[in-house]
């Protein structure tokens, strides 16, 4: 005998909520850190995370449970950021990434501090400030990889760029960041540095 059809075909609200809490809300810290680096201030980061979570909850039926919720949420967050950013700025950042010269710090510190001990003296805020000075394309790649530990493939999916581009952006983002932190360390006297 056929079962009596359930009066409501969509999953019960409690079930939706439970799976959302289990798979999505656990990534709130990641979303906030990425939002903060993208937007540059806590109030915009709050709004961005809020918007992301609302959109994600509304679209939760479209997400294939148990796949990669973190990447899915970050894609939503990034789209929200781009829309907001484009709306607000008439002249979005126009940095020619290819014109940024690669710069390796290691040869400069090889003799004086090959272990990179000077890094240890640089505090959190200073590192975050240096990251925020990177062009957005470098910044988002570096944060997803080096702060949140995502793979090249995952980053390529979120940023909608080829894996080769992830690789080259990451390489140059790390070098540029190292260069900034090195300059700062020289300025602060944490390391003598080689004369310019």
């Amino acid at each position: 005998m056929a079962k009596t059809p359930s009066p409501d075909v969509s999953p019960p609200v409690d079930e939706k909520r439970a799976s959302f809490e289990r798979e999505a809300l656990v990534h709130l810290d990641v979303l906030y850190r990425v939002a903060l680096r993208l937007s540059g201030n806590p109030s915009d980061a709050d709004d961005l995370v809020q918007e992301t979570m609302l959109k994600a909850y509304r679209a939760w039926d479209q997400y294939e449970k148990g796949t990669n919720a973190k990447a899915w949420l970050l894609t939503i967050l990034r789209h929200a950021f781009i829309n907001e950013y484009r709306r607000r700025t008439r002249h979005p950042e126009t940095v020619n990434l290819d014109k940024i010269e690669p710069y390796a710090v290691f040869p400069d510190v090889q003799d004086e501090d090959p272990q990179g001990a000077f890094f240890d003296r640089i505090v959190d805020d200073e590192v975050l400030r240096a990251i925020d000075q990177l062009p957005v394309a470098f910044r988002e790649t570096l944060v997803l990889s080096d702060v949140e530990g995502m793979s090249y493939q995952e980053i390529a999916g979120i940023l909608e760029i080829p894996v080769g581009t992830v690789k080259s952006r990451l390489f140059r983002a790390r070098q540029q960041l190292q260069g900034k932190l090195y300059e700062y360390a020289v300025e602060m006297g944490y390391i003598k540095g080689s004369p310019a």
Partner: protein, 74 residues
């Protein structure tokens, strides 16, 4: 594998994004070449430092509450 090639692939090696063959070539080179080995140590330390410095912050409690309120009316 020469030093230039090794340094070029160093980040991919650290990120464990290389094919097993290339990974082996880099590993062999690093064992035989002290300067590249030093650079490997330096870059590895830099990445650990970066992660440690940037992950201390999480979403503020107020935001967590706000999200729950918006989503579930709590």
């Amino acid at each position: 594998m020469n030093c230039r090639e090794c340094v070029e692939h160093l980040y991919e090696f650290l990120d464990r994004e290389l094919t097993p063959e290339l990974e082996r070539e880099i590993r062999d080179h690093l064992e035989d070449c002290p300067p590249c080995g030093e650079q490997y140590d330096f870059e590895e330390l830099f990445l650990k430092f970066l992660r440690a410095r940037c992950r201390t912050q999480g979403a503020p409690m107020e935001l967590k509450k706000r999200v729950l309120r918006e989503l579930f009316g709590e």
